[in-house]
Amino acid sequence: MNGLYVVAIGNLPDNALDWAENAIAEWFPFPVRRLPALPIPEGALDPKRGQYQSVELMKMLAQHVPSDAIRILGVADVDLAIPMLSFLFGQAQFEGPVALVSLRRLHQEFYGLPADQTLLAERTAKEVLHELGHTFGLVHCSEPTCAMSLATHIELVDTKLEQYCTRCGMQLVERFTSKEAMV
């Protein structure tokens, strides 16, 4: 059976991929498989901004999609950005196979606070559900506690729950049975 692949990009905190895989296993009815870690692509760092171009990481992931993959999720721990926006928690191909989540701004330390592994695990799970939701055609949800609501700062990530609202959840299940969504 085709699976949902998870891959680390560069170095990650211990257990980071487990957090991602557990969240996936709870919501997605596909076997979850782990790929060997990928390096951060050369040239992804924008020296002027001191951030990594998300588009470069997405391109690399797209080149590593296994033939039996339903989706591929990359997890990195670098600060992501696109030219227009000052940062991203993650990115996804809308109704496409590739999703990417960054832990960088999910760490409490990023905001000058003491480390909190439990909180980091929760935030990771929420962002994984969010970006994978986009790959299955879900758009931002107006319910602030839904994993699909748009978080533009960390407090909004914390407002979300590690779950989809009923409407998004139902839509997701519908997509699992739709042929186009599963290509």
């Binding site: 901004r49 171009q53 998300s54 588009v55 950005a81 696109i82 030219p83 227009m84 926006l85 000052s86 940062f87 991203l88 990115q91 996804a92 191909q93 809308f94 986009h134 758009v139 931002h140 748009l150 533009t152 700062h153």
Partner: protein
């Protein structure tokens, strides 16, 4: 998908178009991208973009400002957001001067973009709702919504068009239910005040003091319970029209106040010391004969002449019976869909009943009668049995009040009414009155009735 609000991203850098497009798609928008100004304008010709993000600096061809101006040529309603990597006051000023809605420096905070997009779209939604409502409102009161083929009504409609743009006061006379407010709205909504308020005040519904505060407003503390300064209807109608219904019923004191407003377009709020000046067109309506009221000393003569600059006399429905089938058909169509009933028409026999009936409540009564018939109708067409109760009522003597006038006057009125009902046919009128034709001629002469 928020498909109603498509967004265009114009940037020469692929990565910018791609990433911004992807980010907005996640929000549910339909997003197109263009690598240069020419392509952007081409796309804009085919798609009504709500928002266009346009990079200020694009090498070769059109720059951001030129692209914006070209897009605006084909899509004047599109909101353009100019994007630049460097914030300079000069370019920001130039962009805004040329019509950009916003100017943002990249990279910017996701929250900033998200709020900007939702703020612009909220405004656009309100604007489009507003346009739809205005259209509806105008449609509701356009002249041809007054349904008639009666020559006298057609003359009245022509007159309302002629006076629509003037500020002169209009006095509309007519029995209850003849459509005085509809005509007042037609005057307002077809003139140059159409975009401004149309305020209705029913003068008979309120006591003198209430009406006074309703019309002129009041200052805080003017009377017990006046907690805050409140604008009156004259102020609310500023720039537009105030429709004073049943003007014949106002008290002598209010008549004096009203005269002053008519003369000077100025007044004091209740308890106020500062004069308020307004630009208001006044349309008044009454079902009373104001000339008679003046003679009886009940209505100020000077106010009557001020109000009666342009007089419109609406005929009662019984004097425009040719309109009854048209109006009936109109009400059947309109009311059956409004009431969710499947009634498609009205039979010839039913129309005969309606045409023969005298309609003391005029068009309003006709509308109510049709509504009742639609509600009780058992098949798809209104037939004579749906109006049989109307015939029964018509046959019975009505409860009518005898006015306090000399007997001769009563006789005169009865003769005029009979002639009206019988379209001036003396033979039929005399039969209806139970007198012979020569007696009727005698009485016509005696009462100086011209028919």
């Amino acid at each position: 998908m928020k498909k109603n609000w498509p967004i265009l991203v114009v940037d020469d850098e692929d990565v910018m178009c791609e990433s911004m497009g992807a980010w907005l798609r996640e929000d549910g928008y339909h997003v197109d991208t263009a690598p240069n100004g020419q392509k952007a304008v081409e796309l804009a010709k085919c798609m009504d973009y709500a928002i266009c993000f346009v990079d200020l600096k694009m090498p070769g061809g059109m720059d951001g400002i030129e692209t914006m101006m070209e897009i605006h040529r084909v899509r004047p309603e599109a909101s353009i957001i100019i994007i630049t990597a460097y914030a300079t006051v000069d370019t920001a000023i130039q962009a805004m001067k040329e019509g950009a809605q916003e100017y943002i420096v990249k990279p910017c905070n996701p929250q900033e973009i998200s709020m900007l997009v939702s703020r612009i779209l909220k405004l656009k939604k309100l604007q489009s709702e507003n346009a739809i409502l205005r259209k509806k409102l105008n449609r509701q009161y356009r002249h041809y919504d007054i349904i008639t083929k009666n020559p006298r009504m057609e003359e009245i409609l022509a007159l309302t068009k002629d006076v629509a743009d003037l500020r002169s006061t209009v006095l509309i006379r007519g029995e209850s239910g003849t459509g005085k407010e509809l005509v007042a709205r037609a005057v307002h909504f077809s003139g140059n005040r159409a975009e401004k308020p149309f305020i209705v005040v029913s003068c008979a519904a309120l006591t003198e003091t209430l009406l006074e505060s309703e019309l002129f407003g009041y200052e805080k503390g003017a009377f017990t319970g006046a907690a805050a300064q409140t604008k009156g209807k004259f102020e609310l109608a500023h720039g537009g029209t105030i429709f004073l219904d049943e003007i014949g019923d106002i008290s002598p004191k209010l008549q004096a106040d009203m005269l002053r407003v008519l003369q000077e377009r100025r007044f004091y709020r209740l308890g106020g010391t500062q004069e308020v000046e307004v630009d208001v067109r006044i349309i008044a309506a009454t079902n009373k004969d104001l000339a008679e009221e003046v003679q009886a000393g009940k209505f100020r003569e000077d106010l009557y002449y001020r109000l009666n600059v342009i007089e419109i006399r609406l005929p009662p429905l019984r004097q425009r019976r040719e309109d009854i089938p048209l109006l009936a058909e109109h009400f059947v169509q309109h009311l059956s869909s409004a009431l969710g009933r499947d009634v498609s028409g009205i039979s010839g026999a039913a129309l005969k009943i309606l045409i023969a009936y005298d309609w003391p409540g005029n068009v309003r009564e006709l509308e109510n009668v049709i509504e009742r018939a639609i509600v009780t109708c058992r098949n798809g067409t209104l037939d004579e049995q749906d109006f049989s109760w109307l015939q029964r009522n018509a046959g019975q003597p009505q409860n009518w009040e005898v006015p306090d006038v000399p007997l001769g006057e009563l006789e005169r009125r009865a003769i005029v009414a009979a002639l009206e009902r019988k379209h001036g046919n003396v033979k039929e009128a005399s039969t209806a009155l139970g007198i012979d034709r020569s007696t009727l001629y005698d009485k016509l002469k005696r009462y100086e009735i011209v028919h």
